[in-house]
């Protein structure tokens, strides 16, 4: 359990470093992916809503420390998205190769929308606009692509070697 949590913490740090260092140089139509949001979706898919919400809150806070937006905005968006994915995860086809991409896209849309709406209500200029809709959509597509790489890393970090899995 401790090792699992340490791996997840290291995963968050790694994703924040990549988010702040590498991906700002790799914009596509002005958008970049939200790595911590994608990781939250992956955790929620494996662990359910409660763990998804907690991981989303922690990872969102970590990335909020490097954003100009108010602290807590990404935490809110990620935690709610994680919870929602966790609630509906039992209905997804788990063996599908495209499932990470589908979840990454849906999570990107939901998380980005929550971020923009709450940010706009909190007084951030420019969050509630048609341009934001375009940015959220492009970023969601980008999230779907990076999900192919993020999901396996989350699965590795989340693997608890001293607990057995229950099988259906």
């Amino acid at each position: 359990m401790v090792i699992r949590r340490v791996r997840l913490a290291l995963l968050i740090v790694t994703l924040v470093v990549l988010q702040t260092t590498v991906f700002p140089q790799l914009r596509v139509f002005g958008a970049i992916p939200d790595l911590c949001l994608v990781a939250t979706v992956a955790v929620a898919f494996e662990e359910g809503p409660q763990t998804g919400a907690i991981f989303g809150f922690v990872s969102g806070l970590a990335v909020d420390l490097f954003l100009a937006s108010p602290l807590g905005l990404s935490a809110l968006a990620n935690s709610v998205t994680g919870y929602a994915v966790g609630v509906f995860q039992s209905g997804f086809v788990r063996e599908s190769r495209t499932m990470p991409m589908v979840l990454g896209f849906i999570g990107g849309l939901v998380g980005g929308t929550i971020f923009a709406i709450v940010g706009g209500i909190a007084g951030q200029s420019g969050y509630l606009s048609l341009t934001s809709v375009r940015v959220i959509f492009v970023a969601a597509i980008y999230d779907a692509i990076v999900a192919l790489a993020v999901f396996p890393f989350v699965h590795w970090a989340n693997h608890d070697s001293d607990m057995g899995y229950s099988r259906r």
Binding site: V13, V17, Q19, T20, T21, V22, F23, P24, Q25, R27, G30, A31, I32, F45, E46, E47, G48, P49, Q50, T51, A53, I54, F57, G60, L61, D64, L65, F66, L67, A68, S69, P70, L71, G72, L73, A75, L76, S79, V80, Y83, E95, G112, A116, V118, G119, A122, G123, S125, G126, S129, L130, T131, S132, R134, V135, I136, M163, Y165, R167, R168
Partner: protein, 289 residues
Amino acid sequence: MAVYRRDARRRPVLLIVVLLSLVLVTVDSRGNGLIDSFRRVARDTLQPVQSVVDSVFSPLRDASDGITGYGAVKDENALLKRRLAELEGRLLRERAVGSEVNELGKLLDLPTIQDATGVAARVIGGAPGNFERTVVINKGTSKGVDVGQPVVAGNGLVGKVTEASSTQATVTLLDSPGFGVGVRLENTNERGIAEGRTGEREMRLNFLSKLLPACGKDSSPDTCISDGELVFTSAVANAAFPPDIPVAKVTGIQKKTGELESTVSLRPLVNLNDITYVKVLRWPELTGG
């Protein structure tokens, strides 16, 4: 068949994290020194790791262009661009110096950009999110960079420092939504506010007093707005920016059907999507001691 682990906790986790998040958003929106301190510590702590990662990925990015000796060519290109931009900026500033307002400013003993010293810095990163227009520079409070200081590049205004830790600082670009700077027109000296617009790289000029029309064929340039006319930071006491910094140029004056006023569009003189070196101005200058 794939398996998953069911989470047996029944605590109202979502409610707790949502409430915590909303409290943090509310507190930080109003400004909080403790949160700002956390941010500075986090950025300073992660900065060495970011430098290593950046140094690893920079060569990979450069190699993707497939040009031999790209690093040396890139450095020389950046240096030449900076020198060219500085020369262009000097030329533009001399157009401003020749104006009547500058003479009045001297009479009123207002400080000018020539009085401001600064800290040179390199842009080391872009915005890590999708809803902000910022860049990160490699100088922080340890080098004299502080929140609120204006930032310029060779040929004009870039923005201002909005966050600063010990080793780096965040600069909000002047075309960021909600960013406003007091300006004056080159020919008429009419004052207004140049504001960034959501989703647009062009800014909008809002006049403080008189609304000027677009210049016609026989119009005198000191009574109207011309395409290509420059705007400079205006000279007022206690201004956030030194006066006479080139900011943007007029790219169009449009009046849509049904609107009461014309819209004056401005394009920043600095290419805000391609900045390598900037200068953070110590403004206002400390006097005495």
